[in-house]
């Protein structure tokens, strides 16, 4: 018996046609509904934030499921859903080269300016 071990990262299924968190060959039921990521804006003027994921047959159902699963307690005023397969994630193995170079560059924060006293609320 040949066992293939595939290491997957969250959302890292760009080549998949079916979407979902499980690669196609391991899906028990090929008719299973795809996975969707849900983003909620909690009030006007704020950004949509990732809230979680759910299964749905199509975008319309995904919005309604998101409404039922994630906004039952007045969590939001607007919903986005996107099929998980369309989200591409950075690889945790690349963390050193991607994020560490920023660590010694604190001057990129605009905190080194002397502000005149007259300017408030900066």
């Amino acid at each position: 018996m040949k066992i293939a071990i595939v290491k997957n990262y969250y959302g890292d299924f760009g080549g998949e046609e079916t979407g979902g968190n499980v690669p196609k060959e391991y899906t028990a039921d090929s008719t299973a509904w795809p996975l969707w990521e849900v983003f909620i804006r909690s009030k006007q003027g704020l950004d949509h934030k990732h809230a979680g994921s759910l299964k749905a047959a199509d975008a319309q159902m995904a919005i309604e499921n998101a409404r039922d699963v994630y906004t039952r307690r007045q969590e939001g005023v607007s919903l986005w859903v996107v099929e998980s397969k369309y989200i591409h994630a950075s690889n945790p193995d690349d963390a050193e080269s991607l994020y560490e170079p920023a660590e010694d560059k604190i001057y990129r924060h605009p905190t080194f300016y002397d502000l005149p006293d007259e300017i408030k609320h900066m």
Partner: protein, 247 residues
């Protein structure tokens, strides 16, 4: 409209919501998929909320220490005035979504008429409920279309649901003694608009409904199918066995 008719009418609205809520709640932890389990139980909670509002109103009209709880938990089968269609078993998902669809379309039209009525409290409850009802129609009509225009199996199931449930839709438009007293209700208009809306969704779902079938009625008058006794046994057991129990 005399006081007794107003009380009976309010109880009809309350009972119909409560029994349909109880049936939908039976799906809790048995839904076809987690997300839809939550969707159907959310709808159940909406209906319980509507029934509570109507029971509270009826309790005030009745007085004598009547409460929403005594109305829900301590009345017998023949005193319940819910529509027969609400007490039928859930059967499968197709039956459940079709019942919700035909009922919600009826409820939307009915509550819209009730908003213009003399009883300000019923008008206010109806207005609040309509927001929930329009979501129930959206949710259930999409399921009817999905099943009708889906696979061979789903089409068979929704067709079976239509055959089984259709004979219970006539009761919507067959006024009980207390309904004829509600002046603003236009049953002919209700039936026309209902038929139009339901037909348009069924057509989109590649479905049609049977013509000239025998229509059951009786629920509005307290004459029920054998199902209601079992529902009440489940619903009322605790308050009957331990009167006044709280948690």
């Amino acid at each position: 409209m005399d006081q007794q008719q107003l009380i009976d009418y309010t109880l009809f609205l309350a009972d119909t919501n409560l029994i349909l809520a109880q049936r939908n709640a039976e799906w809790c932890a048995h839904g076809p998929i987690l997300e839809q389990d939550i969707a159907i139980t959310n709808i159940s909670l909406d209906l319980i909320g509507q029934s509570r509002n109507f029971y509270q109103h009826a309790a005030i009209l009745l007085g004598n220490g009547t409460t929403e709880d005594s109305l829900a938990y301590l009345r017998a089968e023949r005193e319940f005035k819910n529509l027969l269609i609400t007490e039928l078993p859930n059967n499968d998902w197709a039956h459940t979504v079709l019942r919700q669809f035909v009922y919600s379309v009826y409820a939307q039209l009915l509550y819209t008429q009730l908003m213009g009525g003399n009883d300000k409290q019923i008008a206010a409850i109806a207005e609040k409920a309509l927001k929930e009802i329009s979501y129930h129609i959206k949710w259930s009509s999409e399921w009817v279309i999905r099943l009708g225009d889906g696979t061979e199996e789903s089409n068979q199931r929704i067709n079976k649901a239509i055959d089984n449930l259709w004979p219970y839709t006539g009761e919507f438009f067959n006024p009980a003694y207390y309904e004829t007293a509600v002046k603003q209700l236009d049953f002919a208009g209700l039936q026309d608009s209902w038929t139009q809306k339901v037909t348009s969704v069924l057509e989109e779902a590649t479905l049609s409904f049977p013509q000239n079938v025998f229509m059951h009625s009786g629920g509005k008058q307290g004459v029920h199918t054998e199902n209601l006794g079992y529902i009440l046994a489940d619903l009322q057991y605790l308050q009957r066995a331990y009167p006044g129990a709280e948690w």
